[in-house]
């Protein structure tokens, strides 16, 4: 069983190979691009995130130091010292408000040298309340120097700085705070290009997300602890927020809170990959376009190559069917054109040869024609054992005189045609017609071991056919005479070959056996039988036909006696 591929048409194969190649190249290109770009983008994103982390640290430190500078400068302001030394709550309150506006901080407290509140610019802290245990005042009290801390104040996250006010001994503390809120996160996002979020395991204090994203992120509060626990600090991981993915980095920020404060930096993965996605879409689009074009070209090319081949194949089928008149109409100058011309010439040659063969079959028997075509026509021959049959119409001359020549010829042709067909059916070869006489040979040019049997069978059949023939003729015209024939059959060696001149040859058999068969035919009248066969023939057919011995006779031109036999049948045995 041959595979599907072997059975596929040439056009399909070319097309499949073509498109498969293009598809492979396209996929390979896409795959390689994806691999390289993806790796590159990831590395870039990681590096960017790392840089953002550094920038972020710098920004936070810078803010702290600016806060520290501002508060130190303000604490050194003599007017502040002077107003602080009044310890007058109302005055200090208004002054605090003024200072807050001047520096632009979110929170400004003034305490006395023991940490008791003197003023809060926002008016939240009750005057007199002790902040001695509150960071960073606690640290500043202990150190007698500036201290800074990130702490939760009234549910908000603040970067706080406490500096002592020297008058010149410590006469109080100035506490400045900057809120770590969404505004700050958004500013960081603006500066670094990455989203920023400040959160503990239980709460999101601030994030640079806005709108729907913010809602989504804040809704993550419950999972925040899981999120934080899942990923090692300072190790980038992929974080999904809604439909968007972020490469994220978690770090701890030192703060005075009940649980650790984390800052999460989120670089948009999808945003970073957007150019790559666009590139991929374009490659796909170009690839698809290329594929379609290539397929069209492939179809055209495959068609161009295979169409003439298909035509030739169709032509070949026609020729196989026997239509030798077929000619391909391909007119090209390339190899296909050459092939088509060769095909046409070849079929032309075949047709001519077939014509010759046909003609030959009419002149010589098909077997001889075949033998001649097969082995060429040369003078000379070979000795073969054959059976020769002669059949002759009795009294032909007498009844031919009373008939118009046309009718006679028609009758003769009808008779010879019927007889010839029987002989040929038994693979006998009509050697020649001699007037009304037929000479046939069995066993040459094609060797047939049962040539004698075939000859006798043909003879018996000829006699039966003749009865039918006569009945038909009588039915047409009762005036037509009944034909009677005599058949002589002899078996023996003959010389078979071409006889004549090199220009004109005749395939025939010669020898004593031929003469014997002719004589036997002549003798049928004397023995009152339609069929006579020689002893040699009898020996070969005795098993197949019931024969009768008619006697020994010395045939004219022969030395020894020949045994005569006939087939014992009603239609044979009659002496008509």
């Amino acid at each position: 069983m041959r595979g599907w591929w072997a059975r596929s048409r040439l056009r399909t194969k070319i097309f499949l190979v073509f498109s498969g190649l293009i598809l492979a190249v396209l996929l390979l290109t896409l795959g390689a691009t994806q691999l390289v770009v993806s790796r590159q983008t990831q590395a870039t994103l990681r590096h960017e995130l790392w840089t953002t982390g550094q920038v972020f640290q710098g920004l936070v430190q810078e803010r702290t130091s600016r806060l520290l500078t501002n508060s130190t400068l303000l604490a050194g302001d003599f007017a502040l010292k002077r107003v602080l030394a009044t310890y007058d709550a109302t005055t200090l309150m208004s002054a605090a408000l003024s200072y807050q506006q001047r520096i632009g901080v979110d929170l400004l407290w003034i305490t006395d040298e023991h940490g008791a509140v003197l003023a809060d610019a926002r008016g939240h802290q009750r005057p007199g309340a002790s902040l001695a245990q509150v960071s960073p005042i606690k640290e500043a009290l202990t150190l007698g120097d500036a201290a800074s801390v990130i702490a939760e104040v009234e549910a908000g996250l603040f970067q706080l700085v406490a500096v002592p006010v020297h008058g010149p001994d410590v006469i109080g503390f100035l506490i400045l705070g900057q809120a770590i809120d969404d505004v700050f996160a958004e500013q960081l996002e603006h500066d670094t290009g990455s989203h920023v979020a400040f959160l503990t395991a239980t709460r999101v204090f601030a994030s640079s997300f806005s709108g729907a994203e913010r809602a989504k992120f804040v809704a993550l509060e419950q999972t925040a602890s899981a999120l934080l626990a899942e990923h090692a600090l300072q190790e980038p991981f992929l974080f999904r927020l809604g439909d968007e993915r972020f490469l994220s980095l978690v770090s701890v920020i030192e703060a005075h809170l009940s649980s650790p404060l984390y800052v999460v930096l989120l670089g948009s993965y999808d945003e970073a990959f957007a150019p790559f996605y666009m590139l991929r879409r374009r490659i796909l689009l170009i690839g698809a376009g290329g594929l379609v074009m290539a397929l069209l070209v492939g179809v055209g090319l495959a068609g161009g190559i295979t169409a003439p081949v298909q035509t030739l194949v169709a032509g070949m089928r026609e020729v196989l069917k026997g239509n030798l008149g077929y000619r391909s109409g391909i007119d090209r100058d390339d190899e296909i054109g050459f092939l088509a011309n060769a095909f046409n010439e070849m079929v032309g040659g075949l047709e001519e040869r077939e014509k010759i063969r046909d003609l030959m079959n009419k002149v010589v028997s098909p077997e001889i024609a075949h033998e001649m075509l097969q082995h060429g026509v040369t003078l000379g021959g070979e000795v073969r054992e054959v059976t020769v049959l002669f059949a002759d119409i009795r009294g032909f001359t007498s009844f031919s005189e009373g008939m118009p020549p046309q009718d006679l010829l028609r009758l003769l042709n009808a008779y010879l045609g019927r007889m010839s067909r029987i002989i040929e059916r038994e693979n006998g070869v009509i050697d020649k017609y001699i007037g009304d006489e037929v000479m046939a040979v069995f066993g040459t040019p094609l060797a047939q071991p049962d040539h004698a049997v075939r000859a006798v069978a043909a003879a018996v059949e000829m006699l039966r056919e003749l009865a039918g023939f006569n009945a038909e003729q009588q039915a047409v015209s009762p005036l037509v005479p009944r034909l009677r024939i005599g058949i002589g059959i002899a078996t023996g060696p003959v010389v078979a070959g071409n006889v004549g001149s090199p220009e004109r040859l005749n395939y025939t058999v010669l020898g004593d056996t031929v003469n014997l068969a002719s004589r036997l035919q002549s003798l049928t009248k004397d023995y009152g039988t339609a069929l006579l066969m020689s002893g040699l023939t009898y020996e070969q057919v005795a098993q197949r036909f019931p024969c009768r011995f008619l006697g020994q006779v010395v045939v004219r031109g022969r030395q020894e006696e020949t045994a005569l036999y006939t087939v014992q049948r009603d239609d044979v045995g009659g002496t008509e």
């Binding site: 130190t72 050194g76 003599f78 010292k81 002077r82 602080l84 030394a85 007698g144 120097d145 500036a146 002592p164 020297h166 008058g167 010149p168 001994d169 006469i171």
Partner: protein, 216 residues
């Protein structure tokens, strides 16, 4: 005229009552726990014994500004002392204090004499210069006129004390103990009394603005 005489007489009488016939002395040393002497410690009588009348003022003292420093850096005075702050530099100074004991301000001055400042309440007064943060000094206002500064070895010598039992205390800038917690009662008689103080001191720490040398 008669009134003047009478006043003088009464003064003399009071002096005779106040001053006993002889005066006692207290000597001693202020030491750190490790035995090293503490200089610049103020040893003072916290309160006068019953029956001892203190000499009254007016007392005067000075704290100079020289080479952009206060001199001396520690100045013990009795309550009621007027302190002058002469500026001996060629630049302006702005002496001030917002200490609870005494809040005052001598706005920028150079050549002219600033008005003396009366310290009428005992306690510690830190003195600073508004335009030179490193310039600081301490005026320790003692409730009695009996006080002395320890020398380099931490030794002190209080003289001319009338007999009696004196609560003696010590103050030092870096002492961790409050002066009232260092009180030792010392009996002053004909002989010199010996007493020593052991103080726990904090290591000196730099203060913002103490970075001298930046110039001006």
């Amino acid at each position: 005229m008669v009134g003047r005489f009478l006043f003088f007489f009464l003064q003399c009488l009071a002096l005779c009552v106040a001053l006993p016939s002889f005066a006692g002395e207290i000597t001693g040393q202020v030491l750190r726990k490790d035995g090293a002497g503490i200089a610049q410690a103020v040893v003072f009588v916290q309160a006068l014994p019953v029956g001892v009348a203190a000499p009254t003022g007016p007392w005067k003292a000075e704290m100079d500004q020289m080479q952009r420093e206060f001199t001396p850096s520690v100045l013990p005075i009795a309550v009621g002392t007027e302190v002058r702050f002469p500026n001996r530099d060629q630049i302006h100074h702005h002496v001030y204090s917002f200490s609870r004991t005494k809040s005052f301000e001598l706005p920028l001055y150079k050549d002219e004499e600033a008005a003396p400042v009366l310290f009428d309440k005992s306690g510690i007064v830190k003195i600073g210069c508004n335009i030179h943060d490193w310039m600081t000094a301490t005026i320790f206002v003692v409730p009695t006129p009996y006080f002395v500064l320890s020398d380099e070895a931490g030794r002190f010598h209080l003289k001319d004390l009338p007999a009696g039992n004196y609560p003696l205390a010590v103050w030092h800038e870096s002492s961790l103990a409050k002066p009232e917690d260092t009180v030792q009662t010392v009996q002053v008689g004909t002989q010199t009394s010996e007493v020593s103080f052991a103080l726990e001191t904090a290591p000196p720490r730099p203060r913002p603005g103490s970075r001298k040398g930046g110039g001006y």
